[in-house]
Subunit: 316 residues, 2 copies
Amino acid sequence: MLIGVDLGGTNIKVGIVNQEGQILYQNSRTTNPSRPYPLIIQDIIEQIEGCVSQLNGTVEDIKSIGIGIPGIAELQTGNVIYCTNLSWYDVPMGEMIRTHFNKPVYIENDATVAALAESVSGSTKGLANSVFLTLGTGVGGGIIINHKAYSGSHGAGSEIGHMIVGENFYECNCGRNGCLETFTSATAMIRYAQKRIREGVVDTEILNIAEGNIENITAKVIFDSAQKGDQLATEVVERMIKYLSIGIANIHNMLDPDRITIGGGVSKAGDALLEPLREAVAKLAFCKGVIYGDITLAQLGNDAGIIGAAFLGESL
Amino acid sequence: MLIGVDLGGTNIKVGIVNQEGQILYQNSRTTNPSRPYPLIIQDIIEQIEGCVSQLNGTVEDIKSIGIGIPGIAELQTGNVIYCTNLSWYDVPMGEMIRTHFNKPVYIENDATVAALAESVSGSTKGLANSVFLTLGTGVGGGIIINHKAYSGSHGAGSEIGHMIVGENFYECNCGRNGCLETFTSATAMIRYAQKRIREGVVDTEILNIAEGNIENITAKVIFDSAQKGDQLATEVVERMIKYLSIGIANIHNMLDPDRITIGGGVSKAGDALLEPLREAVAKLAFCKGVIYGDITLAQLGNDAGIIGAAFLGESL
């Protein structure tokens, strides 16, 4: 049995995954992240035991346990270096769960886990080298090299959202300026639209859909308005595409993967995102003689967390 | 016998390298790059035969032949996709040399080759993951992942010099704007100094050393002037450090290698480069709990081309 744990700021989801990357059973509890971490880890343990007994198995049937977290961990020891949403710093989650089950436990960043899931049974299935980007509140990245999850020598790699690609009008949460995340996340699109409206660009469909309140603006509102030909919305989308294409060109020039796949809330724009993005990336191609990896949408959605985590041990 | 070939725009250098990464014998010919490519390849073949007979060997003693080129090639087939300095496009060099010797032939970008050499017997020896940057006329990059040279799915990866990191006052040779190369190469430093002097900043030690002629400005002139406290030179060096630290922070956030090592002409500035660079990179650290890979100077200099090429077959 491969156990996958998707530890998020809102829910803890645990599932059993087969060798084809399908979830056989899963359960979920509320994270309640303000609790002391041993309680959260205790929940994970109980959820794993619940999964195993649901499939009429025993702990002995577990091959390995993988956990995806919204933070950075040492893959092998399972030490969580930090996990902002949970306010965790230096938490020995891997050791605690390993001690309980006496089974291998692996912990990785959730975007890396999603990248692995997509490469096991999703949009990058079977490809040796791929990169996964999730465009949501922030921008996360996962790198697959030679069919394996890659997150560097200290677990701090694949933070593609914090690639500096220019200068921006506001600082990133990480304290720096110009991170890809501040140009291409849903938050970035919303902030730029709000900024332009505050500057006086008020004749816009965005405000109509948002009922005149800039706090109601979402990435979907912006994409929907752009589809209707709205000028400001088009400007916001074009700006996002410009920087996302730079980020992807940088990935091409650095890692030259077989494919780049995009998930997260912003990816729900579908072709309205993909088509101009592919065009912009093609214009930035460095080596004209090379057919670079294509850009597609991720396929697994929320299941990627459990599936990828379950395969962490398999991809070593 | 491991044969390494360093095919440059000026010279063709061929050597025999032992398993410790030491050059046992080498020879050199002028490239004369305007010749038809079969003549250049014929020279390489003769130079290899010359090396082998110098060590009293035969062609049968050759284990593999590796070739580093200032361009992009398919590692396994040895097809040269392009090689600007030689005006080569789609040249089947690998096949021609393989057919002649009936031995494995591998071709890679010269910066990737140098990265491999440094990881075999230089500044990154024994490290699993490392990145090599060469700062010269342009900026080249080489990536080692899990002790192996990595250049992506189509041989077009590790082009770190063409990572877009901002907006610049001139376009890159590749036709795009904002490539790392246009901020951090020797050429970039010279162009920025020349621009500032043209703008009227003429009271500078740079012009004194350059005997009043901006065409005489070199990276060394700029570093030497900065060491003397010259204001413009300090500005030029600081600008270069600013963008190089962004490039290196992006490498940290993407690949999180054990070490980043710097070669090429600009690296001759030594501590005048390294010390402010390390300081600037530390300020950009994304994950405060992580001790990122350090930054050092490359050790092998011009030998890296032969040594790394010879090890291409060993690092598959």
